[in-house]
């Protein structure tokens, strides 16, 4: 009886001993306050004397030649855990500048990772990219090519595909330091500018992951939002920066984003346009509420020919003066016709613009690949060939506009 009890207690001790190694926690424990949570990253081209400025972390000075695309200047925005006011009651909106909720640091490096390693050497906590929401890249760097940037962020397992990547006019670093009034965190403001853009129908869904997918596709090129910081530290979406492979080749005008959205038939719709009525100085402004588009592909003379039918549902929003009353169907029909005419030309212009650069951001090539595989296999097959052929492809655009409502005013 007694030995039995003894055995029992030994067994118990053994079981408890087994759990001991488990209690030490895991190798990967990293407390939240030991992490440097990176919210935003800006990447610029570093100047001539950057090599002198660089500390010798990834390599000793002079050992590695500066890469072909030049050195980079990376800025990061790190969240300061205690400083971020949570919830209301702490004086909604930030009256202070961004420096108080985030910490902005900049470093130079030969490559993106090299720069991050230089940065890691300077701060105590481990850089954590799990909450990275915005990557801002300067126009100059984008024109040199994004191979390195895309490779690094694709390889990193922490980065989310729902983050935004954008191209800034001028230096990207400025956007990291900006302190917009509406949000407490500058990057969150940048992000919500674009996210709201989607909701308001002013910008296509173009998350990092979608950009990557489009860039990879054989019959399509990627594009990114092109932004500029304004005087009041607000951010304007200036257009679409479109790419050829990994290199930025051009920018559209802001209104041409609407052209892209219309051609792709993206909903919800949200752009307004000024329409000049026939034979008068009268102008009205209409707002698109619903878009629809249909591609039709034919092979004509050995080249792809697209017929694009765009369908716009429109509300009248504003009339500039009083000469013409909006009170009969004829007038409305004439607005329809006028806008159809204007839009057709507008859409064709955008397509022509991208054709000149050989950058098919609409994915017409994907359409050829999907619908005419025989033709694709015989004549195109590679991305390079499509980039060449896109310039020769022909397009017909037919637009149907229907003004449906005229607001609360009766005439």
């Amino acid at each position: 009886m007694e030995t039995n009890q003894w055995i029992k207690s030994v067994k118990l001790v053994c079981v408890m001993l087994i759990t001991v190694p488990l209690l030490t926690g895991c190798w990967d424990q990293l407390e939240i306050d030991e992490r440097a949570v990176v919210l935003g990253v800006s990447i610029d081209v570093a100047g001539e004397d950057a090599e002198q400025e660089e500390s010798e972390v990834g390599h000793v000075q002079g050992a590695v030649p500066a890469p072909r695309s030049g050195m980079v200047r990376v800025g990061v925005q790190i969240a300061l855990p205690g400083r971020i006011p949570l919830g209301p009651g702490e004086g909604g909106g930030s009256q202070e500048d961004s420096q108080q909720t985030v910490w902005v640091i900049e470093v130079v490096g030969h490559s993106i990772n090299d720069a991050f390693m230089n940065l890691q050497q300077q701060i105590s906590s481990k850089l954590f990219f799990g909450h990275l929401r915005v990557i801002v890249i300067s126009e100059a760097l984008a024109k040199k090519g994004l191979e390195n940037v895309n490779d690094y962020f694709r390889r990193n397992s922490e980065v989310r595909r729902m983050a935004w990547m954008m191209i800034s006019k001028g230096h990207a670093m400025g956007l990291m330091r900006a302190a917009p009034k509406l949000e407490r965190m500058p990057t969150l403001y940048l992000m919500s500018t674009l996210d709201e853009g989607i909701n308001l129908g002013r910008f296509p869904k173009d998350y990092l992951g979608i950009f990557w997918s489009n860039t990879s596709k054989k019959g399509q090129e990627g594009f990114l939002p092109y932004v500029e910081m304004k005087k009041e530290q607000n951010v304007e979406i200036m257009g679409l920066a479109y790419f050829k492979n990994n290199r930025m080749v051009g920018v559209t005008k802001p209104l041409e984003i609407a052209g892209y959205l219309g051609l792709k038939g993206v909903n919800p719709a949200g752009y307004s346009a000024v329409i000049n009525l026939e034979g008068m100085d009268e102008s009205v402004m209409t707002n698109v509420t619903q878009r629809g588009s249909k591609f039709d592909l034919q092979i004509k003379n050995g080249l792809p020919h697209f017929t694009i039918d765009v369908n716009l549902e429109v509300n009248l929003e504003e009339k500039m003066n009083d000469e013409q009353l909006i009170d009969n169907t004829e007038t409305i029909k004439s607005i329809d016709r006028k806008q159809e005419e204007v839009s057709e030309k507008f859409y064709k212009d955008i397509i022509r613009k991208t054709q000149e650069k050989g950058s098919d951001i609409f994915g017409f090539g994907e359409y050829v690949r999907a619908k005419k595989p025989g033709y694709w296999n015989k004549r195109i097959k590679t991305k390079e060939n499509w980039q060449r052929m896109y310039k020769d492809a022909t397009f017909d655009v037919n637009v149907t506009v229907n003004v449906r409502r005229i607001g609360m005013k009766a005439k």
Partner: protein
């Protein structure tokens, strides 16, 4: 065979599904896309068809010899020594499969979640877990699979359907692909992902109604194959074939790009990995169980428990052999394809000979059968 025959048809189907769905789901779209680009779903379907042939063969054999496993009835069919050689090959193959599964699991975990944990630790923890669980009887084994089955089904369905929000149909076209060169190879690679279904031959002798084994394998294949197809369709339609070629684990990337409605969770990869661990566990459990069960029967022992820890060091060392992740995937693809000779070719051979020699396990006593061999 003294055990009670307790395993039901549903349990058998659950065993098949949770055995088939395992580590393979993460690189699956990559394998399929490498083979056929936009024809990836078609490649998956072909792979499923090839795997079904193998499964039908072993189910038929199992029903013909409903009291015996493949280790036992192969002796009746092709004679003692030839059969022993065959059984040895099967055992070695499944031991290798177990180790590769464990290693692949370890690589995923170390790359994406536990970056500073040594890969040896994740592998050995998983193997230990499997080894301990194999010390149960086959009935408990069936219960374990049955229990985890819904846990495996729901998240995969959830991700697939949520991600269809971002899908573009054009990515799936043309459904016959632009380039058909790689389709044969790819079909075999995908078929190899279904090899876990071989566990059925161990389960049939313990089924309550072995005559319904065909029904179980039909449902098992349909659900597992359906899930595979769904994952491939979702991944290809969201990313497009070319982008998938850039991704080592497209399914994980899919989970990263998918968010629950209303931003409850903005990325699902952590949740998916958690569930995927159970999926890997059930797969590992099956191949481990198969290996030791087969060894037991080859040596005509009664108890399989003693082998569960005996095997551990061998499996572990084999798991550590691949030098890097690229080499590991080369090995996995090659071993998988070679394995098809064992999991489809060998049963096919047995099946033909058993018909030619008019062997049947059910009517006659087992003793008389042994003599002939």
């Amino acid at each position: 065979m003294e055990e009670q025959r307790q395993i039901t048809v549903i349990q058998t189907a659950a065993i098949l599904v949770s055995t088939i769905i395992g580590v393979g789901v993460l690189p699956l779209p990559l394998f399929a896309v490498r083979a056929g680009e936009s024809a990836a779903p078609l490649v998956t379907l072909f792979g499923m068809a090839v795997a079904s042939i193998g499964l039908v063969l072993i189910t038929w054999l199992g029903m013909r010899f409903s009291n015996k496993t493949i280790i036992q009835y192969s002796e009746d069919i092709i004679g003692k020594w030839a059969a022993r050689l065959g059984s040895l090959l099967i055992i070695v193959f499944f031991a290798v499969l177990t180790s590769l599964t464990a290693r692949e699991f370890g690589e995923v975990v170390v790359t994406s979640v536990l970056k500073s944990t040594p890969v040896e630790v994740t592998v050995i923890v998983m193997l230990l877990l499997a080894a301990i669980s194999t010390r149960n009887t086959i009935t408990t084994f069936a219960y374990i699979h049955h229990f985890y089955f819904p846990l495996l089904l729901v998240p995969i369905l959830l991700i697939a359907f949520l991600s269809f929000k971002n899908a573009e149909v054009i990515n799936l076209q043309p459904i016959f692909g632009n380039d058909l060169k790689g389709i044969m190879m790819g079909t075999m690679t995908i078929a190899a992902l279904f090899q876990g279904s071989f566990i059925l031959t161990m389960v049939i002798p313990s089924m309550r109604k072995p005559e319904k084994a065909m029904l179980a394998s039909f449902w098992g294949m349909l659900i597992a194959g359906g899930l595979y197809l769904l994952i491939v369709v979702a991944a290809v339609s969201v990313f497009g074939a070319e982008e998938i070629k850039n991704l080592l684990w497209p399914t994980l990337e899919l989970a990263k790009a998918t968010s629950l409605p209303a931003n409850i969770l903005e990325r699902l990869d952590a949740a998916v990995l958690a569930v995927w661990v159970t999926a890997v566990f059930t797969t590992l459990l099956s191949s481990y169980f198969f290996t030791i069960y087969a060894i037991t029967q080859l040596f005509r022992l009664a108890d399989h428990k003693m082998f569960s820890f005996f095997l551990l060091p061998f499996v572990f060392i084999m798991a550590m052999l691949p030098q890097n992740i690229v080499q590991m995937y080369d090995i996995i693809e090659n071993v998988g394809r070679i394995g098809l000779y064992i999991t489809i070719g060998y049963p096919g051979l047995l099946f033909m000979i058993s018909i030619l020699r008019k062997k049947r396990g059910n009517q006659n006593g087992d003793e008389s059968m042994d003599k002939i061999g």
